[in-house]
Symmetry: C2
């Protein structure tokens, strides 16, 4: 039973709130029973499992676990109070692939990155490809927003120049609406940050540029995770119909 | 120049982080220049405008404004540091209406409510209808997630029994995919919280139940704001094609 905040395991948990420690240790933390169970379902074995005692989760046989005074565990949480279990896992990256995947460029908000990881897991067979300037998918907010899909389908790292397959750029300035897209697999949907968009070299390389039709009296853009999800749904539906 | 945290205006800002005070005062706060400018574009006059001085925004003539010592303004912020302007506005609600709108039931996360307000503003002509159990759209996180669409298209309050038009239920258990939906206007897309879904009486009243097709090896559901956006896009696109 851990009863001191100076415990080395709690120190590790707190360090993993910082990207540089996640990179140095090649580890990340997932908070809450839902995420720890999602990891287990996906076959991930935690390096460490900290459980609030008494009354903590007790169904994770075979992994190194520690029981922690509940208030201390809550203080080590990156996401606020009420956390009853924190698992620490080794980071994993996928390789690019699949008939349909999505590439994000410069998407700095971890909630958006995690949300796209979840949507991609629901709608396509390839991983999310994370380009320069994207938030760390292993940050606490991204892990939470992925709702466990991070474990089932870890993202891949990518550079624009390495992207293979039919590149489709989502671009607010494109003339062609999403619905007129030719769905030639393997297809990579490419999205940039909301204001900056995609870099010119990627727009030039794209086989097609399409836009999501928005009302003229509405906002200039959708949230990037919304746009990715709408486009993935449209392309996945049309690919399934063509198959 | 406000230099005390006991200043009444700063106290008001801090109170407005709480729902009961927003209801009692019938006011809410919007933080940051982007939101204050969105309010201005939509014709909203702030009841109060607090500007970090020196160097604060200075382009809001004709409204009661106060300059605040920057650190004090940051401390009154609900959303963390760096806030240079906070506007206080009287709450407004729309009436239900439009050819296409979206009804949310029991969606308790303010980020999701705000995100749907933004997507609806981009994709349909009716307001977001908020049923029982939804997060307050005037909470700081909801206002921020709406990215200003809250001002352009305030949400409406609704009870399930009062909903009029063609009710379409998004329901993971439905057999019919979204793409087979008949788009009879005025149409109200109805979504419940991710786990609980829609209440039985609403499912029974719905003219159609549809599901978003998800991969069998993926998560059980999309995030509710993603699902709403995908469905709004699909219906709006088909309505535009039929028109």
């Amino acid at each position: 039973m851990i009863e001191s905040k100076d415990n080395e395991q709690l120190k590790t948990i707190r360090k993993l709130q910082q990207k540089r420690w996640r990179e140095r240790l090649d580890l990340f933390a997932a908070e809450g029973e839902d995420l720890v169970e999602a990891a287990e379902r996906a076959g991930w074995v935690p390096e460490l499992l900290l459980i609030a005692a008494p009354g903590g989760v007790d169904a994770h046989a075979g992994t190194p676990r520690s029981y922690v005074e509940p208030q201390l565990l809550a203080e080590a949480s990156a996401l606020g109070s009420g956390t009853r279990v924190i698992g620490v896992y080794r980071r994993r990256w996928s390789e690019p692939g699949g008939e349909l995947s999505v590439y994000l460029h410069g998407v700095g908000d971890p909630g958006n990155v995690g949300a796209v990881v979840r949507s991609a897991h629901a709608l396509c067979d390839g991983p999310v490809l994370l380009g320069p300037g994207c938030a760390d998918p292993f940050s606490p907010k991204a892990v939470r927003a992925s709702m466990g899909s991070l474990f089932a389908r870890p993202p891949a790292r990518a550079e624009p120049a390495q992207l293979a397959g039919t590149l489709v750029a989502l671009d607010a300035a494109a003339e062609r609406p999403l619905g007129e897209l030719a769905t030639t697999a393997p297809l990579v949907l490419c999205l940039g940050a909301e204001r900056e968009g995609l870099p010119p070299e990627l727009l030039e390389r794209a086989a097609q540029r399409v836009r999501i039709a928005l009302r003229p009296d509405g906002p200039e853009s959708l949230n990037v995770a919304m746009a990715a999800t709408v486009a993935l749904h449209e392309v996945a539906t049309r690919m399934a119909a063509d198959a």
